[in-house]
């Protein structure tokens, strides 16, 4: 009988709370007891309150334990963990854990299940089937399939992926590019990181398919430097993909050439904006470009370029395997398919939840997230990153749907939800939004560069009670100018958190040390 297989995540968040120490303890303590174990470092299942989550493969399937500390390992082994026996950290069959069971894992099907850089695991779990199918299709057929699926850009803007691909396919050029935006800089979002660390081949496969679809022979993945583990795993995956002939001179040995390069950002939030990212890839300052021309027409090095987010690209292989219909039948309104929602901040059960669009904000935060980690009532949530609106619990009935959020001056963005309890001061958060914009603005347009600095100043005066009414009016004017006149989303969306904080939490802007007029 072969040694029992034990899974301990290599995901950087799991490592951040001791997964490496647990893995080491399992190997050491098992050896001390004369047991052999086969240790597999998988991605994370995305239930971070249970990390480090240890799984053991048994005849009846995988059994989970968590959260396991290195100090628990001896006791767990003595209590029959290697046979999947129950004990105080026993969670039962992994697949039966309620939080996992209620999910529809489409993009994240393999994350947490497989060894991220095992070719055998990847292929045994449906990997490469999408690329193989793409090789049997014409470029137009691939683009049509993606369009029919209703997939929209997962980076935040929600632009239909198929329409973008069609533009690049139709653009005449002897050289085209696929650029993957992996500069996931929004606080509260970590799904790109988890995918790159937990199933990097799916991104390689998605990019190769995009290459076939639009006639691009080169791809670039631009990863933020704040993700060293994702960079290392992605780099290893690309090397393995080359070695196995998945990419390179001929995709899977029968297709056209597709080369894939990994590039690393350098701490500029603005490079998550697609045109600033292209500038950075070209070796320049990350200054945004005015659009038009669209990157699909004149993008990287002036060539037609598909710029897609990590999750958008990684969702394409399962769409090709299961068909556009399998994806488009999920969701609500014009938000089709699943989204990998991320529950973050002051939340009891933080992590990811992949499910169809349409689930309400309240279900995500209260039912699935279990409310705050501190146990105090939820006061505010920020959805969609630093440029997303702050919403009160009275908005918990909002369905997670691009259009429903846009209708109330909010955005779904990348699907990140950051939860705050009653200790939050929304005037501070509004001020921070302006401060962050001032810090991260590329400086190209005035509303963003100067408006944000002015915004900090004006909010300070409002809080201090200096000419409150006049300054509130000024702030609204400023927000309007930033929304209307900024060249990109940085300046254009910064007013969202500011305005929403004012709208829903006006009491936080009452002067604490009011100066009489």
């Amino acid at each position: 009988m072969s040694a029992p297989v034990v899974f301990v995540p290599l995901d950087s968040a799991a490592r951040s709370v001791g997964a490496d120490e647990v893995a080491e303890a399992i190997v050491g303590e098992a050896a001390a007891r004369g047991h052999e174990v086969q240790l597999v470092r998988n991605g994370s299942r995305g239930m971070f309150w249970l990390e480090p989550l240890v799984e053991v493969a048994t005849r009846a399937g995988r059994v989970a334990y968590g959260p396991v500390g290195a100090g628990d390992v001896g006791e767990l082994l003595d209590a029959g963990m290697l046979d999947g026996d129950p004990n105080r950290l026993w969670l039962g069959a992994t697949e039966e854990i309620a939080h996992l069971k209620r999910q529809t894992r489409f993009t994240f099907a393999r994350v947490g299940v497989i060894d991220p850089v095992s070719v055998a695991d990847y292929e045994a779990n449906g990997g490469l089937a999408g690329l193989r199918r793409a090789l049997e299709m014409s470029p137009q057929e691939i683009v049509t399939e993606v369009t029919k699926s209703g997939l929209r850009g997962r980076g935040g803007a929600g632009f239909p992926t198929g329409i973008k691909w069609q533009t690049v396919l139709d653009a005449p050029s002897d050289l085209k590019f696929i650029a993957c935006n992996a500069d996931e800089g929004d606080s509260g979002t970590f799904a790109d990181r988890m995918l790159m660390e937990g199933d990097p081949f799916s991104l390689v496969e998605g990019m190769a398919i995009a290459g076939l679809a639009v006639g691009a022979s080169e791809g670039y993945i631009y990863v933020r430097s704040e993700y060293p583990d994702a960079i290392a795993t992605m780099a290893a995956a690309i090397d393995i993909a080359y070695l196995n002939g998945w990419i390179g001179p001929s995709v899977l040995g029968t297709g056209p050439a597709f080369d894939l390069h990994l590039r690393v950002g350098a701490g500029a939030y603005i490079c998550g904006e697609e045109t600033a990212m292209l500038e950075s890839l070209e070796g320049r300052r990350g200054m945004i470009r005015a659009k038009p021309p669209l990157p699909a027409v004149a993008g990287l090095f002036g060539r037609p370029t598909v710029v897609n987010n990590v999750l958008s690209l990684a969702t394409v292989p399962p769409i090709l395997v299961q068909g556009a219909e399998a994806f488009s039948q999920l969701g609500v309104g014009r938000s089709r398919g699943t989204q990998v929602f991320q529950l973050a901040g002051n939340i009891s059960h933080g992590g990811i939840l992949e499910t169809a669009f349409g689930i309400t904000l309240g279900e995500l935060v209260e039912q699935i997230g279990g409310g705050t980690a501190t146990g105090l009532p939820v006061r505010a949530v920020q959805v969609g990153g630093p440029l997303g609106a702050y919403l009160p619990t009275s908005r918990f009935d909002l369905p997670m749907d691009y259009e429903a959020f846009a209708a109330v001056g909010a955005m779904v963005g990348h699907g990140g939800v950051v939860v705050f309890d009653g200790t939050v001061d929304l005037s501070r958060q509004a001020r921070f939004a302006m401060e962050f914009c001032a810090e991260e603005s590329c400086g190209k347009c005035t509303p963003c560069r100067l408006g944000s600095v002015r915004g900090v100043e004006v909010i300070d005066r409002i809080i201090a009670g200096v000419e409150r009414e006049a300054n509130l009016e000024l702030l609204e004017d400023l927000c309007e100018t930033m929304v209307d006149a900024s060249l990109c989303a940085m300046g254009g969306l910064t007013p969202f958190p500011v305005r929403s904080a004012l709208q829903y939490f006006p009491e936080d802007f009452e002067a604490t040390n009011a100066v009489p007029k």
């Binding site: 606080s187 970590f190 973050a344």
Partner: protein, 166 residues
């Protein structure tokens, strides 16, 4: 990108710089990969490298300097033996990151971007490390840490300092 301790960095070498530039010369838009490698090897981007890069890549010195100075990651001087980055993103704020950030500055007696007098630690702020469900997060020499309160921060600092002594 991958942080190391100061001892593994080598001193300025024009030859090594030229070698790095030449290795990347065939790539499209090679400047960023070159700058990252220079920083990995030397610990920072030496102003002397700007001249070498400008000449080798046929850019003006101003262009190269403009790129180096735009990106926060590129340092102009050698960092401390360890680099500790404290996340100040909103998710971490919701779990007390501002308190942690103030504590870190006070405890190390430096502001963000500065190095302690003994050269042991460079303290930096960062906006999101992608550990938003285990806030507050910090990164110590490229290793992510989660649920870090003031006490755990002090433990990390103590560990880093004891390693520096060894």
């Amino acid at each position: 990108m991958v942080s190391r301790t100061t001892s593994s960095y080598i001193g300025w070498s024009k030859e090594r710089t030229v070698e790095i530039v030449e290795r990347h010369a065939g790539e499209r838009g090679p400047l960023m990969p070159i700058l990252h490698e220079l920083q990995d090897v030397f610990g920072f981007v030496d102003p002397r490298a700007v001249d070498v890069l400008a000449e080798a890549l046929n850019f003006s010195k101003a262009d190269v300097h403009g790129v180096v100075s735009f990106y926060k990651d590129f340092r102009s001087e050698l960092p401390g033996a360890s680099v500790i980055r404290v996340c100040r993103g909103e998710a971490c704020q919701s779990m007390g990151a501002e308190r942690l950030a103030a504590h870190a500055r006070e405890q190390l007696a430096v502001d963000f971007g500065e190095t302690t007098g003994d050269g042991a630690i460079t303290l930096e702020q960062v906006f999101c490390l992608g550990n938003c469900a285990l806030s507050p997060a910090v990164m110590v020499d490229g290793r992510l840490k989660g649920r870090i309160d003031e006490g755990l921060f002090d433990d990390l600092v103590a560990r880093v300092r004891s390693q520096a002594v060894k």
